[in-house]
């Protein structure tokens, strides 16, 4: 029992150490949030990817971002502040709020429904196939299938 507790403690210490290795600095947060914002100069590019010479929007927005980070604001608060100042199009992706939630939920939901539907369909086919007499094969089509089988398998 004592051995289990000791192993648990060692595991917990390792986990904390491992997690601490990835703790984010302000520079990393600047890079991260800078890639979640759009440049408002009209170039249609992510803020830190805008390559316009002397772009006024780029310098203004990055200065604001750096100032917000220096003031210790959270990532979410910074994004909301930018959204309030520049409008929702300044965010490179919609936030998890109200209607925008649909944008995030739909694709994985559809994939999961598709997988569930496919599994159910296959089960139904299997049950139906078990109760049906074998289909009489068309010799012409079977000949072509045999040719294809030879082409695609050894």
């Amino acid at each position: 029992m004592r051995g289990v507790a000791r192993t648990g403690r060692v595991f917990a210490i390792c986990l904390v150490a491992v997690l601490a290795m990835g703790a984010s600095s302000n520079a990393a947060r600047f890079d991260d949030i800078g890639h979640k914002l759009m440049c408002t100069c009209g170039c249609g590019q992510v803020l830190l990817q805008c390559n316009h010479l002397g772009c006024p929007s780029l310098s203004r927005e990055t200065a604001e971002l750096q100032s917000d980070l220096a003031n210790g604001q959270s990532d979410n608060a910074i994004l909301i502040a930018f959204q309030n100042e520049y409008g929702p199009t300044v965010l490179a992706a919609p936030m998890f709020t109200k209607f925008n939630m649909i944008a995030w939920i739909m694709p994985p939901l559809l994939l999961l429904l598709g997988i569930a539907g496919t599994v159910m369909l296959v089960r139904r086919w299997r049950l139906r196939a078990a109760g049906m007499p074998p289909v009489e094969p068309d010799p012409e089509i079977e000949k072509m299938r045999e040719k294809i089988r030879k082409e695609t398998e050894e």
Binding site: L91, I141, I148
Partner: protein, 687 residues
């Protein structure tokens, strides 16, 4: 020449309209057994010849436009806006597709060219080809109507003709831009052929899977063109746009990816129909969807429906495309409803753990990826319509939603080849999966030891390391699975023939090019995934550099040797000369520049890139500090980018292998041919 071009377009429209009407009437008469003064077979033949004539007329129009570009005929509005006297010859040629009207003419010409080949090869199956030819003529009529009445490439300028043109967009003055759009269009337009065959086969209740057999090579070649077009576009964006990346999830990029995804799904699922007579309705709808998405992509690019950095300007032709799309959808739906009983499957899936189900899931995931991209592209419009606010859906959305789907697809690429048709036993699964799973585990340990920290996903908002880790493990899984497939077959040949393993692998591939060519394509996809996952470890720096000042990035030291400016009739340029050192030794000299094009009055960044297998040192001349006159240099260290382009080369090679007939089949065909010649029997063509 503009008058000649306009006449050629009108003639092409008349000929294609005749192909559609005469072909339609002839096929209807044949279907109901009606007879008239002109035999339907003869009427169909005139339609076929008119279709060939359409190609000649469209070619004449395209030549006329290129001629106008080369002769600096600025009385033509299109040439005035997309060319100038100092423009180099190849770019004058590229002016054909650098604007709205010209690129539509290229669409029409490529469609006519595909139609020309199809109509010449009509003996493959006269009746089915007649249906396909008539359907293609319908598509052709739409594009020629556009060119004659809505987006006229030969419109003349009103008032006095300017002495010089406004020039080609500088972003398009890059060698790849001479090949990228035609490749992409060859892909988009090419899907019209399998679409026409599928719709034709459904209309005439064509028995069996022969239409798939006939169109297999068409589809593969088309898919290859689209693949090359997409990756050339990526390379162009990387080399020209100068933001350090190659894919920005821009709506226009997304538009090209959507038909590619459904086309890829089609290429996989047709195998189930060919081998087991399953998924008939699914396949028909996949190819319908692929063609409609190609049209939808063109609509997105041209209607101004969504904001994009490189879409054509908003124009009224969007309405034309909507009408055409609705028409195509209605015809497909109507035909399907009428003939759906013809598409009953011969077999059903027998097990969830089988090759068939892996194809099914592969299709599902590809379609989910396609839906995600379509959803992300259109969500800003939906949001504006529902809540009155337009939002941006860019890279962070796709990285979070589409990347996991892509990784799931990579996982399926690994397990598919290891499962047997019909059903796989637990024993065979265990036997086939042991090595790939061990390889994935070993790769995971190696990647962590190399400094990748997948657990960062739990502590930061940075998901790149985690995705890269999963991608490397799955890459090992797929490569081992593919290699074991090759090794198993090659070992048998080696045992029987005494050849070495490599020679046996070559022979194995030649015996079954489609299967092993497909595996090579999968290998190429893995290499691309490895290349893309390098993005998680990109580094960037920006610095104003004085003479002989240095900056460090990754293992490189970059020193400013000098900076200067130059001029020529086409553009003025500013550039920096940089020496790149590694471990104190000079590796290369680089010269990023910034051009200013005189005719178009637009600037362009010319990237300097030093590419190795490990990383790209990608340098941009970001500008000049007006106070000091010193260049501002932006440096990127982008790991593994070269792998993406290598992966594409492998895909091209794999597809080429899959297109070659099997060695045994070819030998048999030559024997049959020799025998037939001896007996003086005419052998007619086939695929």
């Amino acid at each position: 020449m503009p008058t000649f071009g306009s006449f050629a377009l009108l003639l092409a429209l008349a000929l294609s309209a005749y192909t559609l009407l005469a072909g339609g009437i002839a096929l209807r008469q044949i279907a109901v057994g009606a007879r008239s003064r002109v035999a339907p077979e003869r009427l169909a033949e005139t339609a076929r010849r008119a279709g060939i004539g359409t190609f000649a007329a469209t070619t004449a129009a395209a030549v006329a436009l290129v001629w106008c570009a080369f002769t600096n005929n600025f009385s033509v509005a299109y040439i005035l806006h997309h060319s100038n006297r100092a423009l180099p010859g190849p770019y004058k040629f590229a002016a054909l597709w650098s604007g709205q009207e010209g690129s539509l003419l290229l669409w029409a010409w490529l469609l006519a060219a595909y139609g020309f080949v199809l109509r010449l090869r009509h003996k493959v199956d006269v009746k089915l080809t007649a249906y396909a030819s008539t359907i293609l003529a319908g598509v052709q009529v739409f594009f020629l109507l556009l060119l004659n009445f809505a987006a006229m490439p030969f419109s003349l300028v009103s008032g006095p003709v300017p002495a010089d043109g406004f020039g080609l967009n500088p972003l398009l003055q890059y060698p790849e831009m001479v090949i990228h759009p035609p490749m992409l269009y060859l892909g988009y337009v090419g899907f019209a052929v399998p679409f026409a065959f599928a719709l034709g086969a459904l209309m005439m209740r064509y028995p069996g899977e022969k239409w798939i057999h006939i169109t297999r090579r068409w589809t593969m070649v088309t898919w290859l063109f689209l693949t090359c077009g997409i990756f050339l576009g990526m390379h162009w964006a990387y080399a020209v746009l100068g933001w350090g990346g190659y894919w920005g999830w821009d709506p226009v990029e997304n538009a090209s990816l959507m038909p590619w995804l459904t086309g890829t799904a089609f290429l996989h699922s047709v195998m189930m129909q060919e081998k087991r007579g399953m998924m008939k309705s699914w396949n028909v709808w996949l190819i319908f969807a692929t063609f409609m998405l190609a049209i939808f992509g063109t609509l997105l690019t041209r209607s101004g429906l969504v904001s994009s950095v490189h879409a054509f300007a908003q124009s009224p032709i969007g309405t034309w495309f909507w009408v055409f799309l609705i028409l195509v959808m209605s015809v497909c739906l109507f035909t399907y409803i009428l003939q759906r009983d013809h598409l009953k499957a011969d077999n059903k899936l027998e097990s969830l753990v089988s090759r068939e189900s892996s194809f099914l899931f592969n299709n599902l995931v590809l379609l989910a990826a396609c839906f995600t991209i379509l959803w992300g592209t259109l969500f800003p419009i939906l949001s504006e319509y529902v809540v009155g606010n337009k939002v941006t859906v860019s890279a962070p959305f796709y990285n979070r939603v589409a990347v996991p789907i892509g990784l799931f697809l990579l996982f399926l690429t690994a397990i598919g080849p290891l499962l047997a048709w019909r059903s796989s036993s637990f024993r065979s699964i265990r036997k086939n999966f042991v090595m790939p799973v061990i390889a994935a585990g070993v790769m995971g340990i190696v990647v962590i030891a190399a400094g990748v920290h997948p657990w960062e996903i739990f502590t930061t908002t940075h998901q790149g390391s985690f995705y890269a880790f999963v991608a490397y493990c799955l890459a090992a899984l797929v490569v081992t699975a593919i290699s074991s497939e090759f090794m198993r077959g090659a070992a048998v040949i080696s045992r029987n023939t005494g050849q070495n393993l490599f020679a046996s692998m070559v022979q194995l591939t030649r015996r079954n090019t489609r299967r092993y060519g497909g595996y090579i394509v999968h290998f190429g996809v893995v290499v691309i995934f490895i290349g893309i996952s390098g993005q998680a470890f990109n580094q960037t720096q920006e610095q104003e550099m004085a003479l002989h000042q240095s900056v460090h990035i990754g293992p490189y030291q970059v020193e400013c040797e000098g900076y200067s400016q130059d001029t020529n009739p086409n553009f003025d340029t500013e550039y920096a000369l940089l020496n790149v050192y590694r471990d104190g030794e000079l590796v290369t000299k680089m010269a990023p520049e910034r051009r200013f094009y005189n005719a178009s009055q637009q600037p362009l960044t010319v990237v300097s890139n030093h590419s190795t297998l490990a990383w790209d040192l990608y340098i941009i001349y970001a500008g000049k500090n007006p106070d000091t006159g010193q260049p501002i240099i932006r440096l990127f260290l982008n790991p593994l980018v070269a792998w993406i382009w290598i992966g594409v080369a492998i895909i091209v090679f794999g597809t080429a292998v899959a297109l070659v007939p099997n060695m045994t089949a070819a030998a048999a065909a030559s024997r049959v041919h020799a025998h037939a010649e001896a007996e003086a029997v005419t052998v007619q063509g086939g695929d």
